[in-house]
């Protein structure tokens, strides 16, 4: 298990895999969410972006975050650049904090992610309110909570392909202990 202070050694993720997960996140966001589910729907794209920014800060480009943000803007019919700016900001904050966050257990990481998600949502809300929109109320931030709860699961899921078979190499695992 992933313990605090002893990050396990994992295979590096390929860029293709990162882009694939982002596409999956986009698909999840585009699912026909409705009513209450829509209120609680976490922003999967933001979660996956934050995950890679923390895990592989050199591999996740700002360009990818920005382009995915633009695609979200198009699909929402929002101002072009709203999601893009928020995502780029979130990725930047995550890259600044990645060394710190990686030392924590998954649930402790989730608290950091909560703050990052709140930052994202607040950025988008500010952008919209500058554009003259009315405030959507505190329910707007509920999706951050669901995102936080989902963080450990998503992390485990995204790390699966990088994890080799357990104890594949007895010398390595003995040395690692």
């Amino acid at each position: 298990m992933h313990l605090a202070g002893s990050p396990e050694l994992l295979k590096p993720a390929s860029r293709k895999f990162i882009l694939l997960t982002l596409a999956c996140g986009l698909l999840l966001n585009l699912l026909p969410w409705y009513g209450l589910a829509l209120l609680f729907r976490p922003d999967f794209v933001a979660l996956i972006l934050l995950f890679w920014a923390i895990r592989e800060p050199r591999k996740l480009g700002f360009t990818a975050a920005w382009v995915v943000g633009l695609l979200m803007d198009i699909s929402d019919g929002a101002i072009l650049g709203q999601h893009a700016l928020a995502y780029v900001l979130g990725v930047y904050a995550a890259i600044l904090l990645h060394r710190r966050i990686q030392r924590f257990t998954l649930w402790q990481q989730a608290t950091h992610v909560l703050l990052l998600l709140l930052l994202l949502q607040a950025t988008m809300m500010l952008i919209r309110m500058f554009g003259g929109a009315v405030s959507p109320g505190p329910g707007y931030f509920l999706s951050c909570l669901t995102g936080t709860v989902l963080w450990p699961a998503i992390s485990q899921l995204l790390l699966l392909p990088q994890r080799g078979r357990p104890d594949a190499d007895p010398v390595y695992s003995a040395g690692h202990k």
């Binding site: 969410w33 700002f62 019919g77 650049g81 893009a84 952008i127 109320g137």
Partner: protein, 304 residues
């Protein structure tokens, strides 16, 4: 922060530089998009990427819907069939009287030499994506400029007006619902013909009638229909029902509930006949222009 790389590793620009670059780019985009509307072609291009993804994401739900509808009990089908039959009968009768009225109307208009209203052709569309943006009330439907849909055309359901097409992409189009904050629609009260403009409330799926005097003749339960004077919405389509009136200021605060099932349906109709304001007919030659002018003035005099 010790995330500064040693100088002998080449990592390109620092995260801060990159962040500034992309933040600047986003701000530029927002300004261009919101203030100058200069990014339509970029939107069109990106929408071609997003549209198939939206279809794909919608597919599981559609499949579920279809399999669900496959396993319907016969009893339910029968009762539904009977109800539909009854409704069809009622509507057939109404249609007959409407055909007669239409014929009469066409004849009267011809007599008065008023421009004949174009036949309204409709396109049936299906909603692919209800925007999850809590700030705006928009939906995406599955037909776009490939089906002659243009920005500005009204969208209806079987009860009344739902909204208006605001952006058109090659295979999709975006409909802004009447409840959106920036959406306005000219209406009139059926009971007494008072004209007003209804605005979206933006928050709780309601419409407002601002700028109505506190003593205006309006009651709870009044039906609002389109007045048709804007040339965009054809006249007489149900829009909303007045649900609440507060008359304690110079202007009454009037809240209305939209008639159409704005959040209920999967299918919508888009009227593609009346996208443009109806132009007065251009006379082909001066002689006929004179006669039509003459007739029009005659009608006016009679009216006076």
């Amino acid at each position: 922060m010790d995330n500064q790389a040693p100088p002998f590793f080449k990592h390109g620009p620092s995260p801060l530089t990159r962040f500034m670059f992309f933040a600047f780019l986003s701000l530029m985009l927002m300004a261009l998009d919101a203030r100058l509307n200069a990014l339509n072609s970029l939107r069109q291009m990106l929408s071609v990427v997003v549209a198939p993804l939206q279809r794909l994401a919608n597919y599981p739900a559609e499949l579920l819907d279809r399999t669900g509808s496959f396993f319907v009990t016969q009893g339910r089908l029968q009762s539904e069939n009977a109800a539909l039959r009854q409704r069809q009968l009622v509507q057939a009768v109404q249609l007959q009287s409407m055909q007669a009225t239409q014929g009469e109307n066409a004849y009267l208009r011809k007599i008065l030499d008023i421009h004949q209203r174009r036949g309204e052709s409709m396109v049936a569309t299906e909603i692919v994506y209800t925007g999850r943006d809590p700030f705006s009330h928009k939906i995406i439907v599955d037909k776009g400029s490939n089906q002659k849909i243009q920005a500005g055309q009204p969208a209806l359901d079987d009860i009344g007006v739902v909204g208006q097409v605001t952006r058109v992409y090659p295979f999709n189009s975006e409909i802004t619902l009447l409840t959106d904050k920036d959406q306005a629609i000219p209406v009139e009260i059926v009971r007494n013909g008072t004209r007003a403009i209804a605005f979206g409330h933006g928050q709780d799926g309601a419409l407002e009638l601002p700028f109505m005097a506190a003593n205006a003749d309006i009651q709870n339960g009044d039906t609002l229909v389109t007045s048709g004077i804007d040339g965009i919405y054809p006249a007489g389509l149900p829009v909303a029902i007045v649900s609440k009136i507060e008359r304690n200021a110079a202007f009454a605060k009037i809240t209305c509930t939209p008639s159409a099932g704005i959040n209920r349906h999967k299918q919508l109709l888009i009227l593609i006949g009346e996208a443009r304001p109806v132009q007065p007919p251009m006379p082909a030659d001066p002689a006929s222009a004179k006669t039509s002018d003459g007739k029009a003035s005659v009608v006016k005099k009679q009216g006076n």
